[in-house]
């Protein structure tokens, strides 16, 4: 994949959006690879178990928080690795927003730097906010 960074002078909207497009693609492919890896481990170990999702139990706390997921990954738990892949997927649009903040800053469009930081604050609240603790 060719990822050519434009010179500072040509940080125009079109080249920024092209980089964003590639950033999103890389994020999706990377997270898909992790999900596939975790999925294989999960299916090899649990493929024969009877699936039952008719009742909601909520995930175990180990699959709800960052700490729990990372701990599970260190134990090579298939479900935790899938969850890590899903976290990467959720992080992909967040990375796009962070990149936009830099891009607007380089364009000296400070109004949009502020707008972007507001979106980032909302995302941060959702992902790492009080609901996780």
């Amino acid at each position: 994949m060719k990822l050519s960074l434009p010179k500072r002078s040509d940080w125009d909207d079109q080249s920024i959006e092209l980089i964003i497009g590639q950033l999103l693609r890389v994020g999706v492919l990377l997270s898909a690879a992790v999900v596939v890896l975790g999925g294989i481990i999960y299916l090899v170990r649990n493929g024969h178990v009877i699936a039952d999702y008719t009742a909601f139990r909520g995930e175990l706390s180990t699959l709800r928080s960052f700490d729990g997921i990372f701990h599970g990954v260190s134990l090579l738990s298939g479900r935790a690795i899938v969850q890590l892949g899903l976290l990467l997927l959720i992080a992909t649009p967040v990375a796009r927003v962070i990149f936009c903040a830099f891009a607007f800053f380089l364009q000296r469009d400070y109004l949009y730097v502020i707008f972007t930081l507001v979106v980032l604050a909302v995302l941060t609240y959702s992902i790492a906010g009080p609901s996780l603790h």
Binding site: R25, N46, G47, A51, F56, L63, L89, I127, S131
Partner: protein
């Protein structure tokens, strides 16, 4: 059903949903939740969680193809994402407090409305070249490529559109869908943004909006790796393939068939919601 069979069938179903969703432009999310809830008898909360994560995959995967065409406007997207992300958190919080039967009924109504929108002939909105002051202040004006070269456009009814976007975000967080149809409606019909600019910019916004409610879902235990894994991989692959063959496909009759499927699913969701089976 064994986990292996369950995973395989779910991946296949999601693949078809993602493929048809991309071909018809209606998005795969609208069929994934009914598929999981009605066909696989998965609890609504798990279904919504898996669908929401798959929405991030399909919108981000399609984005790379869209930006090359040069229609999307990242300022409009970022400005309106303030509304959609706030709405998404509100929707996800509402989802954790109302019964799944209520969510099923709302979902059914949204399905019926989406089907109506997709079958209705798009009335072309009048060209409105009058400059909007707020649009200029917020740097929302843009240019987009047409057959006559670059054409300038300006954005109208910004506070109203911003409000609609909050609603679109709420639906997305409540139902685990991208709610692209509502986003396009707000941009194209209310804010008078050219249709191509609306659809491509909406695609960008869907991923960020979904990420905002995904955090809440994850913390509440709605995202189960055993369900989300086949759904994300299937829907993601299906929508990428759908976006590739889109150019050569005759989508009109396909839209009708897919629209009919959505109507049936919508009625089923409402019926099962009222009878308390979901």
């Amino acid at each position: 059903m064994s986990v292996l069979l369950f995973t395989t069938l779910l991946a296949l179903g999601s693949f078809v949903a993602g493929f048809l969703g991309a071909l018809t432009g209606l998005g795969g999310g609208v069929v994934i939740v009914p598929l999981l809830a009605l066909v696989f008898h998965v609890d609504m909360r798990y279904a919504i969680g898996a669908s929401l994560v798959s929405v991030i995959a399909t919108s981000s995967g399609a984005a790379a193809a869209y930006v090359r065409e040069g229609y999307s406007n990242m300022r409009i997207g970022m400005f309106l994402e303030i509304a959609t992300t706030l709405g998404a958190i509100a929707g996800a919080l509402i989802a954790t407090h109302v019964s799944t039967a209520t969510i099923a009924v709302i979902f059914g109504l949204v399905l019926l409305y989406s089907a109506y929108l997709s079958m209705r002939a798009q009335p072309p909105h009048p060209v409105d070249v009058k400059q909007d002051r707020l649009s200029r202040v917020l740097h929302l004006d843009g240019d987009y490529p047409t057959s006559q070269g670059q054409e300038h456009y300006t954005v109208h009814h910004i506070p109203f559109g911003f409000g609609l976007m909050f609603g679109a975000g709420t639906l997305s967080g409540l139902l685990g869908i991208g709610s692209g149809a509502v986003k396009v409606l707000a941009m194209d019909q209310a804010m008078r943004i050219p249709f191509k600019v609306s659809t491509t910019t909406s695609n960008f916004m869907i991923g960020v909006t979904a990420a905002a409610s995904a955090g809440v879902y994850l913390a509440r235990g709605y995202i189960d790796p055993g369900i989300a894994m086949p759904v994300v991989l299937g829907a993601g692959a299906g929508s990428m393939l759908g976006a590739k063959v889109l150019v050569n496909a005759r989508t009109k009759s396909l839209r009708l068939v897919f629209g009919a499927v959505i109507v049936v699913l919508g009625i089923e969701m409402i019926f099962n919601g009222f009878t308390g089976r979901l």
